[in-house]
């Protein structure tokens, strides 16, 4: 018995190399930071290498492997490797790599003082936590990695601690986060109490074979959804988002809005799907919450999605600070993506994956341009963007394209993302939800256009010139080109997403 589990763990490590690479990066960064504090490029370079190595290992680990690290009585372990987690890990790595690149030219980060080492160390632990979240199938590991992600991001959000709003953001984030993870932990404990196991598959097995009272189960489900909802800034758990996004350094805001949201979605989809739905079924019909069929989960999620996108969009309308506006807009985008989860079939999940992939480029792009301008201008206020489009044409045009894509107007990639999402909804006969999504897009047009309006339709006398370095130019282009290209030629993303909807066990 003992031998067996050691055997299994050792064997499992072969599949765990990408995560190991991240851990190694973490330790190397810690050590290097001790000895080479002065060097500006060493730490980011090591992080980049670490992420790239991890990506390389990721691509070369076998496709599907279930139940890593199983111990003791059962063969069912803690961790799975499947195309679904692969997709999200790629997404997370891309977002992390961009964050490092952004950080290199970010004034906030570079002027933050001597503790830049922590920043990169924490980014790697942040990435590791998110990796674990996308693959975990055990409530305990889920909670642990959830906390790893949260703790890293609390500190990162307050990284520029001498800036008042950054410290405030961090504190708010911690308080909200503590409540959310407490709620989630409570949900987990109820589930454990009911079923006597922390493994998602076993929970499903117990739930479907034994008659368990539904009320505690519903409460547990709600609590878990709430906890994860906090991570993906789903209404009504979104209150922290604008403050934290506004207060945190832009690089961190960018990564929070893409990567940590992606990890949250991966967790949400996987855990709920495995726990509450018959995971042996290969072709799910919509509304197939096999267990707990007396409670209308999909309608609940649909309601939350509508709430999330509408609140996000309506609040964004009134913002005058660009960063804050993008924060609300990212809440709205979480709302759109949640609609894909309502359907719960492969089409819906595929739509979420496509959306995320495109969202990565357009949202990071928008944040990056805002960061570059803010570093130069010293302001994120929309008023100060007046006439900027003529003074920094490349940045102005790029930001316009990113915002148009976020609105979802063809021929940009954002349109394709919305197309697949609404397409999946209509196919599953959730037409009213699609219509609400569409109306929300019209609202969002207004505030995105407000930025464009200030940049191009109004003129001002302010002096501003921007000499973009080659590096920044390349980074912007590397985000801009996919945003445009995937609007016209999106076959590759579709295929990638199609292959990635396979969750282990389905």
């Amino acid at each position: 018995m003992e031998n067996n589990s050691i055997q299994n763990i050792l064997e499992s490590l072969n599949y765990f190399t990408p995560e190991l690479a991240l851990m190694l990066t973490f330790f190397v960064l810690l050590l290097v930071d001790l000895f080479f504090r002065k060097s500006k490029y060493l730490l980011p370079a090591i992080s980049l290498v670490g992420f790239i190595v991890s990506g390389y290992l990721l691509v070369y680990t076998p496709d599907v492997k279930g139940f890593l690290f199983s111990t003791g009585m059962t063969n069912i372990g803690l961790y799975v490797i499947d195309p679904f987690s692969f997709f999200f890990k790629i997404l997370i790595l891309l977002a992390m790599i961009y964050t490092i690149l952004f950080s290199l030219s970010s004034k906030e980060i570079n002027e933050a003082g001597g503790n830049r080492g922590e920043y990169y160390v924490l980014l790697s632990s942040f990435a590791l936590g998110m990796f674990l979240l996308t693959s975990t199938i055990d409530l305990l590991l889920m909670y642990l990695s959830f906390e790893l992600v949260s703790l890293s991001s609390y500190i990162l959000a307050g990284f520029t601690r001498n800036v008042k709003r950054s410290a405030e953001a961090s504190l708010k984030y911690i308080i909200f986060g503590a409540v959310a993870s407490g709620a989630m932990l409570y949900g987990i404990s109820i589930l454990y109490g009911l079923t006597g196991t922390t493994n998602l598959y076993l929970i499903n097995f117990y739930l479907s074979n034994q008659n368990i009272e539904s009320l505690p189960l519903v409460i547990a489900g709600l609590l878990i959804i709430g906890g994860i909802g906090f991570k993906i800034s789903m209404a009504p758990f979104h209150f922290w988002t604008p403050d934290v996004y506004e207060g945190a350094p832009i690089t961190i805001t960018a990564v929070l809005s893409v990567a940590s949201k992606a990890a949250g979605f991966a967790l949400l989809i996987r855990s709920l799907k495995i726990m509450f739905i018959d995971y042996t079924a290969t072709n799910l019909q919509s509304s197939a919450w096999a267990i707990l069929s007396q409670f209308k989960w999909n309608e609940l999620i649909a309601g939350l999605a509508v709430l999330t996108m509408t609140l996000g969009n309506l609040a964004a309308l009134w913002q005058s600070n660009l960063k804050r506006m993008l924060a609300y807009s990212s809440i709205a985008h979480a709302g759109y993506m949640l609609t894909g989860f309502v359907i719960l079939d492969n089409q819906g999940i595929m739509a979420i994956l496509i959306y995320f992939f495109i969202y990565l480029f357009m949202n990071l792009g928008a944040f990056f341009v805002v960061m570059l301008i803010a570093d130069k201008l010293g302001s994120e206020e929309m008023e100060d963007y007046t006439g900027l489009g003529y003074k920094a044409p490349f940045l102005g045009v790029s930001l316009t394209i990113f915002l148009i894509s976020l609105t979802g107007i063809p021929p940009t990639a954002g349109f394709v993302a919305k197309l697949y999402l609404f397409g999946a909804l209509i196919k599953a006969k959730w037409i009213w939800l699609a219509v609400i999504g569409v109306l929300n897009s019209v609202i969002s047009l207004y505030y995105y256009l407000k930025v464009v309006k200030n940049m191009f339709l109004r003129e001002s006398e302010i002096e501003y010139s921007h000499n973009l370095g080659h590096g920044n130019l390349l980074i912007t282009l590397s985000l801009l080109i996919p945003t445009l290209l995937f609007g016209i030629y999106f076959k590759p993303i579709i295929e990638f997403a199609e292959q990635s909807v396979r969750i282990f066990g389905f």
Binding site: Y390, I404, I409, P410, P411, F415, L419, F422, G423, I426, K427, I431, A434, V435, V438, L439, S441, V442, L445, Y446, L449, K453, F456, L457, R458, F490, K491, I494, E495, E498
Partner: protein
Amino acid sequence: MMPMKNYILTLTIFLPLIGAVLLLFINNEKKNLLRYFSLIISVITFILSLGLFFGYRDNQVGFQFVTKFEWIKSLNISYHIGIDGISLLLILLTTFLTPITILSTWESIQTKVKEFLFFFLVLETGMIGVFASLDLFLFYIFWEAMLIPMYFIIGIWGGENRIYAAIKFFLYTMFGSLLMLVAIIALGVSAMNQLGYFTTDYTVLKTISSNLLYSTQLLMFLAFALSFAIKVPVFPFHTWLPDAHVEAPTAGSVILAGVLLKMGTYGLLRFCLTLFPQISIDLAPYLSVLGIIGIIYGALVSMVQPDMKKLIAYSSVSHLGFVVLGIFAMTIESAQGALIQMINHGLSTGALFLLVGMIYDRRHTRLISEFGGIAKVVPIYSTILLIVSLSSIGLPGLNGFIGEFLILIGTFKSSVLNSYWYAAFAATGVIFAAVYLLWMYQRVVFGKLENQHNKDLKDLNSREIGLLLPILLLIVWIGIYPSTFLNKSELSIKNILKEVNPTKVELIKK
């Protein structure tokens, strides 16, 4: 297979876009080079579209110059374009008006010339693309992509209130078109349920759409119709139009009135009618009534406008009311009339906007009360304004008459509407048009020359005359011999009406 012939259409669509991209490499300061370059590009586009015109066989049913490439395999979306007589004429209108409009900006657009011409050429690609798309997905992309250049054209080069107008324009149109997107996807999904594969191909969709539940069809029809109605604009969705027109620069107004509004009526004719024939017939009376309200309302509001540009803007609502009526009367005469009225409106209203723009360039005001008695100072201007106004009123012998006459005749004997009252009410619009336009003409041109500023108005220069002449020529041509154009579209119109209502199509008598 005639490869060259097939690529003409694609080339016509994308040449302006290619031109726009090339424009970016020209130095900002060389304004005249920028202007000549865009003019040449748009003239070549026009010549290419003449190739379409002469290559089009009007005795052949169905789409011609069809090109089809697979685009997104998993969704069966293809780059599928082709034209019939209807799209042919509208494409020609677009390519005809664009060079004229570019020429009209020679002096009035002095700032950010490159950006303006860039947006203008992109816009042209969008417009031609809309008229040529046979795949709804492709159609939607062109339809939406066109909003962005228009937004900037109004917003950057417009008048005082331009920002408000630009955003209003964008929001209104976007609202409608997103609902249309939902309907397009829903149609594709129902194709999947019926045929086993998703598609947005128009030629396929029209075979399956009539099998759907009546209520489903109704909702889809409403989504499409709303989107088109906002664009036309049909009363009561017209409120964006006066703002957009008044604030837009002259060139923007010309293209907006000349072509963009036609995309709405084109959509009604092409997609609403053939995709949802039964609903179209059932709702025809209501839409016709909206059309008639538009005719009368637009005319009445025009009468009291102190601003010439606003007057013309509201007259558009009135004229397009005729088009809507003509489409939903569903007779060959009325539909042919509607098509020719679309062209006429593009020419006459386009020319009116140009003329107003020209006087605005000189006096920096458009208020009717600022003028009076300028006939002696600017005789050429006054003459051309008279001809164009008369054409817009519908004087026999000029183009406007043909369109309105055909529409009224067709409506009169329409079996779908089945009442004389439609034609009777609509006919009042012709009278009102005479009132508001002639009254404006009288106040501007005749009377005593009292305002000192008007004493030394300069008459039109050769460039201005040169760009108006082709329009005048067509105004007379269509007025005297409309068959050149009607023949091209007759079979296509007949075909559409046959698809809608095979039993009630009466053959046109020559």
